[in-house]
Amino acid sequence: MNNNDLIRVENLRKYFSIKMGFMKYHYVQAVEDANFSIKKGETLGLVGESGCGKTTLGRTILRLHEPTSGKIFYDGEDITNVRMLPYRRKMQIIFQDPSASLDPRMTVGETIGEAIDIHKLADSRKDRSDRIHKLLTQVGLNSEHANRYPHEFSGGQQQRIGIARALAVQPEFIVCDEPVSALDVSIQSQIVNMLEDMQQEMGLTYLFIAHDISVVKHISNRIGVMYLGNVVELAESNELYNNPLHPYTKTLMSAVPVPDPKISRERKRIILEGDIPSPMNPPSGCRFHTRCPYAISRCKEEIPAWRELAPDHFAACHII
């Protein structure tokens, strides 16, 4: 284990059991044997289609879901089975839907103050309110906003409040779960810039989840690609875009619309047949084999190993 790593997961797996009738259970194989690390101060992006397990992976790392098997390390310590309270402050999450994640009956000041109180971070009442005002200014709001309620703010402003709340406890690691997806294009860039500034100022480490691959590529140092619970490829951002190795990554990259009429009309797309299979009953072998244009007979039987194919470029596929 490298001591530059803030987070490391080993064979991390999360299955959900769903009750299907009397005494009968089914398992949703939401995350399957993930292996990667996140360096201190870096942003690791996570992309993949709806339901592929991005949120589950992020929440399992925070132990908001208990892992089914595998290990989670935080700053070198195995936190898979420890009491999480000491780590809760250091590990925060920002959600997709800013309005749903804020309590409508609490003022902005109370929401941020509550986070400060839980972890007993303020020495005095004055320290507490100073902290609140400083946080609000940091996220581009002002101190008089502290007395207002969430519904008095626009979506972008609500997301700023959610970020201020996460930052209030001076975290080291933040899972940003689709933090800009619900926002207007013109507001998204404000929030992305702000997250970058905060990272610089406070030395934060991010796991950045989004389905907009352009945004993820912009903000991330490295990107992991998920398909049906599997992390199928992981590499430095430009490397992943310029030199994708896994057939699914290639498809995904070719599918992203480019806002340039000439380029987008000349580009060739790889169009996948069929739909994403259910994680309750995933395909055997390589989970992508039912849709992969390059599948060979081996893909159906054997799970491809997770290998480092070039320095810091990992993928799981039989044919590469």
């Binding site: 626009s154 402003q157 207007d184 013109s186 998204q188 810039n193 912009h218 992203v256 619309p257 009429p261």
Partner: protein
């Protein structure tokens, strides 16, 4: 496919003309001028993208054309002419015939339009039979043909299934099939791919491009995804706070934008093909409060070029040539310069 033949014949003729359309919502706290006087034309066979901020009036404008505005929304001014007919003068009964037959609309969330208790087949057959006097067997045949066209395998078997047995992408295909089944002259697609994953979105875009080429149907494509617009639209309309701020062919809008909002929008998006990290340049400020819109230019409070006049008077639409227009005071001099250039072509 009668309309299809028509569409080919009449290419480059005017199909839809919207003139100074105004739509307001009369809410308990005041009038929301959701669409504040917009004008544009659409030709037969043309694909127009409408982009713009959330709440800028894109959907409301489409509902007005379809006659689907719900109370407290009302058309308070202007006209809509479709294929020579005054749409706003039609009775509800005439509008029912108009929808589906002449124009149809597909929505962001297909589940809101598919009835969960009927099979896909029944719903498609019903959609044809309420517009065309044909037998059930013929309608069934046509339905299967449509499902094939939108790329659904095993259409005969699929006809007997219910919406919940389809995936999100397949439901959106069924919606498109339903929208096309009466060969409308125009299709309005309101965020048809927004709820879908990129790979499924790519399938639907390829499908719409393919169908458009085969049928030469006019399409209004409402979306906030500029990448999708770049790929399939001939022309683009950019809306902000109930107004059209810029309009032009797709190359003018993407390569020669003139309105500060359009420029800001294009500049603020990260590009997947960017080689090096570049900090994003956002549009500062917050979206317009439609209950208390600013005086003058609606974009004024967020515009880096805002001048005194912008806060007092609404900017005029400036003609930049080649069907490219933008509403901005900065362009008033530009317009004079352009006019001069036309007088002396060999300068």
């Amino acid at each position: 496919m009668n309309n299809m033949v028509n569409n080919m014949d009449k290419k480059n003729q005017k199909l839809l003309e919207v003139k100074d359309l105004r739509v307001s919502f009369f809410t308990p706290v005041g009038e929301v001028k959701a669409v504040g006087g917009i004008s544009y034309d659409l030709n037969y066979g043309e694909v127009m993208g409408i982009v713009g901020e959330s709440g800028s009036g894109k959907s409301v404008e489409a509902y007005a054309i379809m006659g689907l505005l719900q109370s407290p929304g009302k058309v308070v001014g202007g006209s809509i002419t479709f294929d020579g007919e005054d749409v706003l003068a039609k009775s509800e009964k005439e509008m029912q015939a108009f929808r589906g037959n002449q124009v149809s609309m597909i929505f962001q969330n297909p589940m809101t339009c598919l009835n969960p208790v009927y099979t896909i087949g029944d719903q498609l057959i019903e959609a044809i039979r309420c517009h065309k006097k044909i037998s059930k067997a013929e309608a069934r045949e046509k339905s299967i043909e449509m499902l094939k066209l939108v790329g659904i395998n095993n259409p005969e078997r699929r006809m007997n299934q219910y919406p919940h047995e389809f995936s999100g992408g397949m439901r959106q295909r069924v919606m498109i099939a339903m929208g096309l089944i009466c060969d409308p002259k125009m299709l309005i697609a309101d965020e048809p791919t927004t709820a879908l994953d990129v790979t499924i979105q790519a399938q639907i875009i390829e499908l719409m491009k393919d169908i458009q080429q085969k049928t030469q149907m006019a399409i209004i494509f409402i979306t906030h995804n500029l990448g999708v617009v770049a790929e399939i639209c001939d022309r683009v309309t950019v809306m902000y706070a109930g107004k059209i701020v810029e309009q032009g062919n797709v190359e003018d809008i993407f390569y020669r934008p003139h309105h500060p909002y359009t420029m800001g929008l294009l500049r603020s998006m990260p590009r997947l093909d960017a080689e090096e990290y570049e900090r994003l340049i956002p549009i500062e400020g917050t979206p317009v409060d439609m209950l208390n819109p600013p005086a003058g230019c609606p974009f004024g409070p967020r515009c880096e070029h805002c001048m005194k006049i912008c806060l007092r008077r609404e900017p005029p639409q400036i003609d930049l040539g080649n069907g490219h227009t933008a509403a901005c005071w900065l362009l008033v001099d530009e317009a004079k310069r352009l006019a001069k250039k036309e007088e002396t072509p060999n300068e």
